[in-house]
């Protein structure tokens, strides 16, 4: 069955045969934005199981294990994005007299914003990172030009909205609500994957999926507030500073009507970037958050590699296969909690699920980065430093080679001699870079006159340099392992044996010159003692 047929079947099962008839708009309270209006036709979409499932998907995955109040979900975030997208549109309408800023455009933008995360699955980006490596979605993205360069989650959202089942549902909605009579789903879904209907309406895409889009304007303050991180943001000012300007940054492309921030929004933008930096350093890349990510990915890999069905139930007697992307649409965070009842104690699935939901999380064994690997002595020797840089680069590039990474982990577990452990009980976490670059592309109108002067945000604020500094000093790769201290000590020795071997069997000519500095602080002394006891010299 093709991926689009599978998506269509699942969407059909999550939509009512007839939409709810909602007489008027409703108002709800939002802790970030206050009162939010939801139009009657939007409510008819919100009232479907397809949308309601977002209530059970935490916005920031497992961060609540470290920031207990970060329990907000994709549901309220989606409503928030819709609200902000609508407000951005109103600002533009108040500033410009363009005929294309009409009711149809307003409805289309809000609809796309409401549904931009409809493809999300359990633990949001954690599962997205996993299924984006699956063959079905990778093949689809490669085969269809309109998906080039887009994330798997966005593609799934697009497929859901343009599925036959959703279109049939939406056609019924159109007959019930005249306000959306002339809105086409393809145009709305296109905004989510960065496609505007025309260069004239490019600003719509920028509002939904641009460098400074409604998504970012909602999740920065929402994530900060939920996690209890004190960040100062003036989103209201930023919204008031948006305008439409013609830009032609893209070589050989016609000029387009882009969403631009005027110079009065500069300080608010600076705050926004600082908020992003703060949230990345303290929340998104927190080592406990990374440990949870590693555990959940290991769990899913264990299901796929062992051909085990997930969530055996009356509806799915053999469980769902986690090697098919559309099945992720049927999962929420709660399904993983329930799965604990389906697995037998002693099995790796049980160990990981029990560990996750009872907060017996993986702990750090090694922390690897330029800072922990390159000593002052190395820096004095250009050739030596270059050698370490090359090896570290090869190691970081394992991010793109999961099969080799998996072999390394297997070798470490085998080397440790701990019979009770499997390769799923530990992991090498190679986080992606903080995604700032698109924000850096945001066009800023620095002119105070009627003649605009458009520059990219990164030319005004050195975002790239912040990322570079952050990654160099704080962007560690972690080798994680189980809580048992003696196991971690043995795994540290085993990791060093595998990684420091000059011609290891997995990866010719690859080795990492580990230092004592690269061992997790709490086990460093014990690892050193064990190394001496074994008569080895593995660390520098």
């Amino acid at each position: 069955m093709s991926i689009s047929t599978q998506v269509d079947d699942i969407v059909g099962s999550l939509l009512p045969s007839k939409p709810n008839k909602v007489s008027k708009s409703k108002y709800i309270n939002d802790p970030v934005w206050g009162t939010i209006e939801i139009k009657n036709y939007e409510l008819a979409i919100v009232d479907t199981p397809l949308f309601q499932r977002l209530r059970y998907i935490h916005q920031t995955g497992f961060t609540f294990f470290t920031f207990p109040t970060a329990r907000h979900t994709r549901f309220e975030h989606s409503l928030g994005v819709m609200h902000i997208a609508g407000r951005m549109f109103h600002t533009l309408k108040a500033k410009h007299q363009h005929s294309y800023l009409d009711e149809k455009s307003y409805a289309r933008i809000r609809l796309a914003a409401l549904l931009h995360d409809i493809g999300h699955s359990a633990f949001s980006h954690t599962t997205e990172e996993f299924y984006s490596g699956l063959k079905d979605i990778k093949d689809l993205i490669k085969s269809d030009k309109k998906f080039e360069g887009r994330g798997a989650g966005e593609v799934l959202s697009y497929m859901i909205i343009t599925s036959r089942s959703f279109r049939a549902f939406f056609e019924q909605l159109k007959t019930m609500y005249p306000a959306i009579k002339s809105v086409t789903l393809e145009d709305a879904a296109g905004l989510i994957i960065g496609k505007a209907k025309s260069e004239k309406s490019s600003f719509e895409r920028d509002i939904v999926s641009g460098p400074i889009d409604a998504d970012k304007l909602d999740y920065f303050p929402r994530d900060g507030k939920a996690a209890g991180i004190d960040i100062s943001l003036d989103i209201h000012r930023l919204i008031n500073c948006v305008e439409i300007q013609k830009t032609d940054f893209n070589d050989n492309s016609p000029s387009r009507n882009s969403l631009v921030i005027n110079r009065r929004g500069y300080n608010a933008l600076q705050q926004l970037l600082f908020a992003r930096a703060t949230l990345t350093a303290s929340v998104y890349h927190h080592h406990k958050v990374r440990a949870c990510d590693c555990m959940i990915k290991n769990l899913m890999s264990a299901y796929v590699e062992n051909g085990k069905g997930f969530g055996e139930s009356v509806a799915y007697p053999s469980g769902l296969s986690l090697d098919q992307t559309p099945n992720f649409m049927l999962l929420t965070d709660y399904d993983f909690r329930s799965e604990l009842r389906n697995v037998a104690p002693g099995e790796v699935y049980h160990r990981l699920l029990h560990g996750l939901f009872n907060r017996k999380l993986f702990k750090r064994i090694l922390k690897i980065s330029y800072q922990t690997l390159v000593t002052e002595k190395d820096r004095d020797n250009e050739k030596r430093e270059g050698e370490i840089q090359a090896l570290l680069g090869e190691f970081y590039n394992l991010r793109n080679q999961p099969a080799i990474r998996s072999k390394i982990v297997e070798a470490i577990v085998a080397e440790s001699g701990i019979a009770s452990l499997t390769k799923y009980d530990m992991g090498i976490d190679l986080p992606h870079k903080p995604n700032f670059n698109k924000a850096g592309d945001a066009p800023i109108n620095t002119s105070d006159t009627k003649t605009p002067q458009i520059v990219h945000l990164k030319n005004v604020i050195p975002i790239d340099d912040w990322i570079k500094g952050y990654q160099r000093f704080f962007g560690h790769v972690y080798v994680f392992g189980p809580q048992d201290r003696s196991h971690r000590i043995k795994l540290a020795i085993a990791s060093a044996k595998v990684l420091t071997k000059k011609r290891n069997n997995i990866y010719k000519q690859f080795y990492l010159p580990l230092t004592y500095e690269s061992i997790a602080d709490d086990i460093r002394e014990d690892v050193r003692k064990l190394e001496q006891k074994l008569g080895l010299k593995l660390f520098r």
Partner: protein, 132 residues
């Protein structure tokens, strides 16, 4: 002889291209987005399509953006294989790590044809960056 099925992945394409750049002499360009632009321009040429198999560009935004190239630049930064000479923020230098990485890990995987193609790509990217 390397197998034809190999295609550069992650930072490998950047390393292979920068390998033939001058090491000690700083390169002058304003910011990393010029690297992105240069690779994007080259990626549009059919002759390089096999080198760009594992790289995709989002062309819908204000400027072309490739997650893979961005991640590759990030690896070069994290390892200090590509650095900036402060405080001008416009001179970049390439460390000897690039050459070691290329020779030891990437070159053995390349075919003669791929090496030739990479040489041409490198020249093109160099002139594109330097002209900025």
């Amino acid at each position: 002889m390397a197998a034809n099925s190999y295609h550069p992945i992650g930072d490998e394409l950047l390393v292979a291209v920068f390998n033939s750049f001058p090491k000690k002499k700083p390169l002058k360009f304003k910011d990393e987005s010029y690297i992105m632009q240069a690779f994007y321009k080259a990626s549009k040429k059919n002759k390089y399509s096999s080198l760009f198999r594992n790289y995709s560009f989002d062309r819908d935004g204000i400027t072309p953006y490739s997650r893979e190239i961005a991640e590759g630049i990030n690896i070069l930064h994290q390892t200090s294989m590509l650095g900036k000479m402060n405080p001008t923020f416009s001179f970049h230098f390439i460390s000897s790590g690039v050459e070691i990485r290329f020779k030891r890990f990437i070159e053995p995987k390349l075919t003669v044809g791929q090496k030739k193609l990479l040489g041409e790509l490198s020249k093109e990217i160099k002139s594109s960056l330097i002209s900025k």
